[in-house]
């Protein structure tokens, strides 16, 4: 049997466990894309490997899905975005994916400040490989899948992101689809590298950071009167960054979600490219007509002449 005989695209069954937080992320993402009125064809959802990594396949809109390698989603996404800045690029990655094996790319993506959105499925475990501790699981915690309490200290993705140059840093909660969707819309509207770390319960392997755990702890920064995370003047950068970092350490009886930090002043990597390459935004690499009648359109004469001796 060949799909060639079928030739109509069938939605893929979402094979996540019942009750998985990933459903909420998927839903919020679909809604955000729809509500912003984006042309789905120009949206590319890039993902890594893990339960989270399957997300693009489960989307019910004709987006493009690029399900990549464990830890490397950001690198693929960077290539896609830079070769065609007209595309909207969203990266969905697991916490092991983005912050464990992919930590190097995570930090360096901040340094570039490319106009993309990274959504981390923060479930505290390596779910698809059966529940080992992920880098966000706190030290000493023993989920049911671990033989002993976790030996490593957790990373703080928000703090590292801010220290690395992300210009939009937020935390969402998978079971608050509406709030998450709004965060995603803001992130998609932000020009620059955005992180949304999503608290994503994994009912199968993480019996500590459960829905019950979060439901009673989570509160929204947007509802705090004096919380203004947006940098509007260059002088504010350091102060707001530090405040956000401080906030990101809050974890215990109360866990903040919402926007921690946004810097609207920083130019994007694409802007920096455009300084050297004329027409970059209008006529990006992906769309240049390099061929005509089977021959190259690139003019080599001048370049060759510079080599003359």
């Amino acid at each position: 049997m060949q799909a060639s005989e079928v030739k109509t695209h069938k939605p893929v069954w979402s094979d996540w466990c019942p009750g998985c937080g990933n459903f909420g992320i998927l839903r919020a993402e679909e809604l955000a894309i729809r509500e912003l009125g984006l042309d789905p064809k120009s949206v590319v959802v890039v993902s890594g490997i893990g339960c989270s990594g399957k997300l693009p396949h489960f989307m019910n809109v004709p987006i493009n899905g690029v399900h990549t390698l464990h830890g490397r989603a950001l690198a693929f996404a960077t290539g896609i975005k830079l070769a065609n800045p007209k595309l909207k690029v969203i990266v969905n990655a697991g916490d092991g994916d983005a912050l464990g094996i992919g930590m190097g790319h995570f930090v360096h993506a901040g340094r570039r400040n490319i106009d993309m959105v990274l959504i981390v499925h923060d479930n505290g475990v390596y779910a698809l490989t059966k529940g080992q501790a992920s880098p966000t699981l706190r030290k000493g915690i023993k989920t049911k899948s671990l033989p002993k309490p976790n030996v490593n200290e957790a990373v703080n993705p928000l703090a590292v992101a801010i220290a690395s140059g992300y210009t939009f840093v937020a935390r969402g909660y998978a079971y608050d689809v509406n709030h998450l969707k709004e965060l995603m819309k803001r992130a998609l509207n932000h020009r620059g590298m955005a992180l949304i770390d999503v608290l994503q319960p994994c009912p199968t392997y993480n019996d500590v950071n459960t829905k019950e755990f979060y439901d009673k702890r989570v509160y929204k920064l947007e509802e705090q009167k004096d919380w203004d995370p947006v940098v509007r003047k260059p002088e504010e950068v350091q102060e707001k960054a530090l405040k956000a970092i401080m906030k990101s350490f809050e974890w215990g009886e109360r866990i903040p979600i919402g926007l921690f930090y946004q810097n609207t002043l920083e130019e994007t990597y694409e802007d920096r490219i455009a300084k050297y390459i004329e027409n970059y935004f209008d006529y990006p690499p992906a769309l240049q007509e390099i061929e005509k009648d089977g021959k190259s359109t690139t003019l080599m004469d001048k370049l060759l002449k510079t080599r003359r001796i």
Binding site: A3, V44, N64, L82, G104, H105, G294
Partner: protein, 621 residues
């Protein structure tokens, strides 16, 4: 006529500049050139040297000796005195310096060279090293560098410490005189090379003073040139080829000897194109955080429709293994330009090697079409860079373009027309879809599916086994279908690409040398001699898909099959046996980090034909 000129000195003290000036002067005088740079993985202070072979005929390789050795400090004398044939230019004021005082010299080399002198009853001094050379028939020319420095300092009115820097240009001036060539070419080159008027004056003066100090030994005449010639190193040849081939995205992480290619591309910025509306394009060059990012960024870019490549060397390629597998599974047209250097591991970063072939052929877990080509010289490197981009897009699979440090960091002076011609672009089955969703991996007879750009329709990719839509599926029947579809592309390529294009054959005869890569040049330079002995040469240019049938035919009935390679295992020959069942009868191998020279080819072949089953070559400091 072929003259080998060699200049040495501590890294960072102008050896490169002087070799360039020399080359320009000689090229301007109408000579063909092949030049090669040898240097340590070091920024300043270690011994580096530049060998320039000039000829009235095209030249493609170096030789294992120096007709003219030019030294302005002791280490160069110590490293090369045993290689000199005709002339050695040195600084007589340093005659008494002895080996132990040259701290930059590695203990192994110090000991080796001292022993050489000792065996002749000589002491390890500059003086005695010169004696050694003279005893072997070389003419020693003492150049009074100090007096030149003093004069320059006086005339141009700079401190002596500044004037010191003119020594190497002085050496070049002397060299031109030794060759019997006029000095004008050099003076012109000096004017082009330095922006600062002061430096121009200093160096021109030094060149003239030196020129006047030494005698002529050769009697070269300026030659006519019929058509324009270019100066081309390997990194630039590939970069230009890629541009001609429509490259629009290159990612890289700095590594020797690949980085210069990317640096060149980056400098190009805006590209002129023969297109109506918006006339100018541009190639995006991204310096990545590591090579894992480099390959995966290039793949990402390729999915959008941009022609994309990355360029690296052994350590970086090792890190790309996983990404290349993803590209294979997702049928991504991506080119990996792979400059081989001394391996394994960090190895010898600035020395050449030819030991990564089988890794390239088998990189990453599992099976998918890996197309692997290997260029033999600078002109081939240019055309192969275009070819690689076309192959990648036609067969929708990663293409590995193998080169060596020997090509990257060497240069030729050759006719510009070699780099002109029809730049064919074959985008394969790139289409514009009309539907919302597009099945990217349709099963077809030739294995190649229509391909769309990201953004043109909803398409899916996955490194997991997938169905025609790019969605994960584990069904065993689909697994087999898609597996076969992918592998069929290699069979298609094997059918479509003429085997004659995959092999270069030089001459004819009962004996065959089988080789690949840079060694081609060394063979070309002694082809007449080989032919006189009944030896022909076969250069494999594409290793996957392998030109199985043609190779079988070519090898049939040969009295000897000599594997000539820059590695220990004779990897090219191993692949030959795997593909044809034919074993080489002899091996001529070199793996000391230095280029196989044309005279070594002769030596190796002769020794092999005299019955040595395995000849190991070892020329080169």
């Amino acid at each position: 006529m072929r003259i080998s000129w060699l200049i040495g000195g501590p890294q960072g003290q102008g050896v490169d500049t002087s070799a360039n000036l020399f080359g320009q002067a000689v090229a301007k005088a109408g000579y063909y050139i092949f030049g090669n740079r040898e240097y340590y993985s070091n920024i300043k202070g270690r011994h580096s040297y530049f060998q320039t072979v000039l000829s009235d005929n095209p030249v493609h390789s170096v030789v294992s000796y120096a007709d003219i050795l030019v030294a302005f400090e002791p280490e160069t004398v110590f490293q090369h005195f045993d290689e000199v044939r005709k002339v050695v230019i040195y600084d007589p004021s340093q005659a008494s310096v002895s080996v132990p005082f040259v701290r930059s010299m590695e203990p192994e080399i110090a000991e080796e060279k001292s022993k050489l002198l000792e065996n002749e009853g000589l002491r390890p001094t500059v003086n005695d090293a010169i004696t050694y050379a003279v005893k072997r028939g070389a003419k020693a020319i003492g150049l009074d560098y100090d007096s030149i420095v003093v004069k320059v300092a006086e005339e141009v009115n700079v401190p002596r410490s500044v004037a010191e820097r003119v020594k190497n240009v002085a050496a070049v001036g002397a060299s031109l005189k030794v060759l019997g060539l006029p000095i004008d070419g050099l003076l012109e080159a000096v004017r082009n090379a330095f922006k600062n008027e002061l430096f121009i004056r200093m160096n021109s003066l030094a060149a003239k003073l030196a020129y006047d100090q030494v005698p002529s030994v050769y009697d070269l005449k300026p030659l006519e040139r019929k058509e324009p010639r270019v100066w081309m190193d390997g990194n630039t040849a590939v970069a230009l080829g890629k541009l001609a081939g429509g490259l629009r995205f290159q990612s890289y992480y700095p590594i020797t000897p690949a980085a210069d290619e990317s640096v060149y591309l980056e400098a190009v910025e805006t590209i002129e194109m023969e297109v109506n509306a918006l006339k100018k394009g541009g190639v995006i060059v991204v310096q990545t955080e590591d090579e894992l990012a480099a390959i995966n960024m290039a793949s990402g870019a390729a999915l959008t429709g941009a022609r994309a490549a990355t360029s690296t060397s052994g350590p970086g390629f090792s890190l790309m293994a996983e990404g290349i597998g993803w590209a294979g599974m997702n049928e991504v047209p991506v080119v990996i330009t792979y400059y081989m250097r001394g391996a394994p591991s960090t190895g010898q970063p600035t020395r050449t090697g030819q030991a990564d072939l089988k890794f390239a052929l088998n990189v990453s877990h599992g099976e998918f079409p890996r197309i692997v080509i290997a260029s033999g010289d600078h002109v081939e490197a240019f055309w192969d860079a275009i070819w690689a981009l076309n192959l990648a897009e036609r067969y929708q699979t990663p293409v590995i373009h193998l080169l060596e440090k020997a090509i990257a960091n060497s240069y030729v002076v050759t006719e510009e027309s070699n780099f002109r011609g029809e730049y064919v672009i074959d985008r394969g089955k790139l289409v514009r879809p009309e539907t919302d969703y597009f099945p990217r991996f349709q099963v077809t007879e030739d294995g190649i599916s229509p391909r769309v750009r990201l953004g043109d329709a909803g398409v899916f990719y996955s490194g997991d086994e997938h169905n025609e839509w790019g969605h994960i599926t584990e069904a065993s029947t689909n697994r087999r279908t898609m597996y076969e579809k992918r592998m069929r592309k290699l069979e298609t390529a094997d059918r479509e690409i003429p085997e004659e294009k995959r092999v270069n054959v030089f001459g004819e005869g009962d004996y065959a040398v089988v080789t690949w890569g840079f060694t081609k040049g060394a063979i070309l330079d002694v082809l007449d001699e080989l032919q006189a002995m009944g030896v022909m040469a076969i250069q494999v240019r594409m290793f996957s898909p392998y030109p199985r049938n043609l190779m079988r035919k070519l090898l049939q009935g040969k009295k000897a099959i000599i594997a000539l390679e820059g590695n220990y295992q004779a990897q090219g020959a191993e692949v030959m046996t795997e593909q044809t069942g034919v074993f080489p009868t002899h091996y001529v191998l070199k793996y000391n980090g230095r280029l196989i020279t044309s005279d070594e080819v002769m030596e190796g072949v002769k020794r092999a034909l005299k019955g040595e089953r395995r000849v190991v070559l070892s020329a080169g400091q």
